[in-house]
């Protein structure tokens, strides 16, 4: 497995005096599936913002393989093979579900290639496969703006899959899904990992358990605890700030 690792080293982010990330260091190996949990406001989403170039860190280094992510813009980072699902689902309302996926599909991204792009059979099957996977086959021709909250979540996941990235950053994928769907999602992510790296943020511990990999607990912008789910669940500090008694 060639792949790139993700390094975060000593990353801090300060918003008008508020320390959202505090000297955070984290390594995600190629092919690893990493779950990240932590209290609300621990900095999980901010961490993803830093990796994807939405937020510039106040200090510290962020690297993906050889590339220094702090010097790149969002689009180039995405082109490196880092895809993201947002906590608040954002899809293109005016486009159909199918078109949303088509846009996400891995292909050259410049204006001219886009002008020349033709939907060939291969691409069509890929999209249709994903549609089936996210359960939106029936809604393929509907505008995405009409979807319910949960359906939008699924569409976001679908778009992430279409990008076929090396590193997937998934922010709260199962919020608003039924228990059954949660299980499906866990299976899906487990299947993806190995070939690609996956970082999942979730509050649903059942889901995290189902992923069955290493868990990192963030608190106040830095790592509080790291290990298997059982290890973490029995960590007094984690119980204190996160799980409750």
């Amino acid at each position: 497995m060639s792949g790139n690792s993700l390094y975060l080293d000593g990353v801090s982010v300060v918003f008008d005096g508020f320390q959202a990330l505090n000297n955070l260091s984290l390594v995600v190996e190629p092919g690893e599936l990493r779950a990240i949990i932590g209290p609300n406001g621990a900095g999980k989403t901010t961490m993803m913002d830093v990796i994807t170039g939405k937020t510039r860190p106040t200090k510290g280094t962020v690297r993906f393989g050889e590339s220094d992510l702090t010097r790149m813009d969002e689009a180039s980072i995405a082109m490196l093979g880092i895809g993201r699902k947002f906590q608040k689902p954002t899809v293109f309302d005016a486009l159909t579900v199918f078109e949303n996926l088509e846009l996400a599909l891995k292909a050259p991204r410049g204006p001219i290639p886009c002008l020349r792009w033709r939907l060939n059979g291969e691409a069509r099957t890929a999209i249709e496969r994903t549609l089936a996977e996210i359960g939106l086959t029936e809604r393929a021709r509907d505008r995405a703006g009409l979807l319910s909250h949960g359906q939008r979540q699924w569409l976001e996941i679908g778009m992430l899959l279409m990008q076929d990235p090396q590193l997937l950053l998934v922010d709260e994928p199962v919020a608003g899904m039924t228990d059954h769907e949660t299980e499906l999602t866990a299976t899906l992510l487990r299947g993806i990992a190995g070939a690609r790296s996956v970082v999942v943020v979730e509050h649903d511990l059942e889901f995290v358990r189902a992923l069955g990999h290493r868990v990192t607990v963030l608190h106040e912008g830095s790592v509080l605890s790291e290990g298997s789910i059982d290890h973490v669940q029995n960590d007094q500090r984690v119980i204190e700030v996160y799980l409750g008694r």
Binding site: A75, R109, C114
Partner: protein
């Protein structure tokens, strides 16, 4: 489908106008010179509307300065037409246009060189607006200026150009601009035959522009534009370079506007800094909104209908036309949520 048919019918009807003009005056199907000349003018407006709709309706770039590109295209051709006057000017100077003789220029400013060739002037009608759009667009899109901020920047652009062109010291004839044109490509300008030629040229450009825009919006590029319009930052996270995409349409749209201006000037016989006035650009936006934003047919329809109503009302009710037209502008968004095109849709839809 219906929309396509309506469009085709309109094009055919338009194409007939200069032919009907040839019929004898007495014939019931005769249309007057006047109709030919204003329809020719409206076609140019329609091209401008189309250009604007491409940027605004599809990519969400609400330019309040598209009139500037239109006017620059017009000035480029205007300079050519001025050069063609030659020694027929009032002061009989072999090279300098009248206003320069008059303001005491001794030689042609360097930026006037080359405009004696039609090809060069026409190329400039494309290049100058395109280049300006490239520079302004690059700076703006790179720093992620969006929404009203972008609108105001473009408005400032056209306003600044207007003030600059009003200055007599700029070498573009100041407030009076260019008039008194004599000929174009060897044809004397003020004849019905030339008018018909210009009319057809404009119509062909309109049809081509429509086909190009329609094709463009149907590609994936078009869908990326729509996506940018709705959630620009999300598009970035998918790996698209938003700046490039926006720049591409913006420049294309500016060049289209430039062509429209280039076709317009020989038909109306005057170009002056008034064309840069922000009001004109806003009016173009109004055509698009009136016809229906985000549908190319709507933009064309809007340009034609607003101008037709305006032409009719300024003669029919010179005192009240502003009120009537104003009320129309009020009524359309209230009653037809998608603009005039909404009517067609409703009628032909399902």
């Amino acid at each position: 489908m219906t929309r396509r048919l309506v469009l085709l019918a309109c094009v055919v009807l338009l194409a007939l106008i200069p032919i009907l003009n040839l019929l004898p005056d007495a014939s019931p199907f005769h249309v007057s010179d006047f109709i030919v000349s204003i329809c020719g003018k409206w076609i140019c407006y329609a091209i401008l509307a189309l250009a604007l709709d491409l940027a605004w309706g599809y990519a969400g770039i609400l330019s309040l300065g598209h009139g500037a590109f239109f006017a620059l295209g017009g000035y480029a051709i205007g300079m050519h037409l001025m050069r063609l006057i030659g020694p027929r000017g009032v002061y009989g100077h072999p090279i300098l246009p009248d206003f320069m003789v008059f303001l005491g220029y001794t030689e042609l400013p360097w930026y006037w060189l080359g405009f004696d060739w039609f090809i060069f002037a026409f190329a400039m009608a494309l290049v100058v607006p395109g280049l300006l759009a490239l520079v302004v667009g690059y700076l703006a899109f790179r720093s992620r200026i969006t929404g009203v901020y972008l609108s105001i920047i473009t408005q400032a652009l056209t306003y600044a150009l207007m003030l600059a062109f009003f200055r007599n010291d700029m070498g573009f004839g100041g407030n009076n601009g260019f008039t008194d044109f004599k000929e174009l490509l060897g044809m004397p300008l003020n004849t019905p035959a030339t008018r018909s030629v210009l009319f057809y040229a404009s119509l062909v450009v309109l049809v081509l522009a429509y086909l190009m825009c329609a094709a463009l919006t149907r590609t994936k590029f078009g869908r990326v534009l729509t996506a940018i319009r709705d959630a620009e930052s999300r598009v970035r996270f998918l790996g698209y370079d938003v700046t490039q995409h926006k720049l591409f349409v913006f420049v294309l749209s500016a060049m289209l506007a430039g062509v429209a201006g280039a076709l317009y000037v020989p038909q109306v016989g005057i170009i002056n800094p008034g064309e840069f006035s922000p009001g004109n650009s806003i009016e173009a936006v109004v055509w698009v909104a009136f016809g229906g934003r985000g549908t190319l047919v709507g933009a064309i329809l809007g340009a034609f209908s607003v101008n037709a109503i305006k032409t009719w009302l300024t003669s029919f009710a010179p005192d009240l036309w502003l009120i009537v037209l104003g009320c129309l502008f009020i009524a359309v968004p209230l009653l037809l949520p998608r603009g005039l095109i909404g009517l067609l849709r409703r009628g032909g839809g399902k």
